[in-house]
Amino acid sequence: MMTILGVPTQALFGQLLLGLINGSFYALLSLGLAIIFGLLNIINFAHGAQYMMGAFVAWMLLNYAGLGYWWALILAPLAVGLFGVVLERLLIARLYKLDHLYGLLLTFGLALIIQGLFRQQYGVSGLPYAIPPELSGGQRLPFMFLPNYRGWIVAFSLVICIVTWLVIEKTKLGAYLRAATENPTLVQAFGVNVPLLLTLTYGFGVALAALAGVLAAPVYSVNPNMGADIIIVVFAVVVIGGMGSILGSILTGFALGLVEGLTKVFYPEASATAIFVIMVVVLLVKPAGLFGKPA
């Protein structure tokens, strides 16, 4: 069997595939963050909490309403997105004229409150959520056993990322959005309802986080801290990709998943830090991030 640095190539393929799966979560979450930052100039620290809410809403739908995974995939992002819309109207909209820091503090505070409330109610051990029967089982690939559900995560999040990117870059709605970011006053003068556009954008970004949460529910423990664990990494992804760059966040998300996967093979102790080391290097060499435009 061929080996690279003492690791069989077969095992390496397996680890790369797993890295890609984690990368899907990073991509989906950083995409939402990038959209929100790009169009609203808000650093949404509540993103992790909203991801966690997505997973919890999926659990609630199953346990209180008897609606399974497929319903949750649609309803949970809608419900949490709506929550985002309310949040934006009531609180965040008041901060657009102020410095970034205020938005960051507000959303950070909100994240702590939301997590605290869920912890109070459900504890930290987590709630059970099963893989939908249609996606249970797995494929025996030559180099590893791939659970069907993990394959689904990669495929589904890739589709969502590409569609989102196309909508923003290629459609008229996307053009409005981009124009509103560039010069809101002028766009408003053309008769476009800019505040509404911003509200819906925030709602959409939040819905993406919730969608990632539903995807995560069957594989990770559904607990109030699940967002806090992942959000720091996702922020690093956004910074490396370039704040506000949509394509950058998607590509960086997947790429860093792969890098993390490799670290887990060669030096697992460092797998939690590898991404931050890369962040430091990127910030030193390209302060605007890999795909960001220099300010």
């Binding site: 659970p147 594989v219 423990s221």
Partner: protein, 404 residues
Amino acid sequence: MLRGMRLATALGVLMAGCVAARADGPVPVKIGVLNDRSGVYSDISGEGSVVAARMALEDFKPAEHGLKVEIVSADHQNKPDVGSAIARQWYDRDGVDVIMDVVTSSVALAINQVTREKNKVHINSGAGSADLTGSQCTPNTVHWTYDTAALANGTGGAMVKRGGDTWFFITADYAFGQALQRDTSAVVTKNGGKVVGSVKTPFPNSDFSSFLLQAQASKAKVIGLANAGGDTINAVKQAAEFGITEGGQALAGLLIFSSDIHSLTPKVAQGLVLTEPFYWDLNDATRSFSDRFAKLFGGKKPTAAQAGVYAGTLHYLKAVEAQKSARDGAATVAKMKELPTDDPLFGKGEIRADGRKIHDMYLFEVKKPAESKGEWDLYKLLATIPGKEAFRPLNEGGCPLVKG
């Protein structure tokens, strides 16, 4: 004549002392419950440990024993620096006499040193590292509930006897995980088994798929999970997803609390073999305690760590009553070691010279969904491991307090 005078004076002084103590009113005692109240271990210990300490007060009735007891609590966030800072503040400024629980070994080892320095008392329930009564033992610490050596003995020994003679460890990369792996490896090799590999994972960690894959590739018969709480839950959940047990490999949860299995549900965790010092459904006494606890704490059954806080508090108060003071920590601990232990949850036992509390441990297997009659009906008892066999022998821990 002179001798008689001296005797009379001495008696007089003694009596005066007694009168003075009476006049001063009850002996004040302040108990600090220090643990994780918001992170991965907060369901294992957390507020539930405070509830357990309060229940111990209810049952002990301090006023009838000449004590006046107060309970405070704080969150160490699983960080040794935060924990030490709180401990110093409690000891120096707030007049805390004893720190209870302290889940998370890295924090416990730090509190261990602070407590010795200030001559207070540390009764540990939640942390695992057997070093607390080994190389790091102090005259001020009692390790109540379990330790890595006992877990290793219980689960490690049982798995090897069932034919699981090759092991791969997935280890949380900090004091506890490393101690657990070290102790279990020793038991496995002693019983004729072999450790074929291990991987250290960041703590806390949510994605274990990569490490499970490495474990799978190792072809080891047993995958030992040297982690706890949320880490173990994620690892077991993902092991089921990756078909680890279907492939013929067995999982050994080296530290699992009933709250973890409750969260995983028997459907995911069935067949898992584990060792615990306490389970709510052991006997009438544990059942009635657990029912009372559940009424006070949102229907949840107590974990072993919480049960240990209850029993440890009871025994500590008995020692303080005998001493008539909580001032001198080392003296109180010496008294605790002198008095035999007896409580409804852990039964009769003793505290050894190295601070190790001795009681039986139990080997459990997680029930199949069909066997489980309720939300909390989780374990079936495989074996009772007598206290004398369960824990590391007194002379093997390397504790300087043990002579000879």
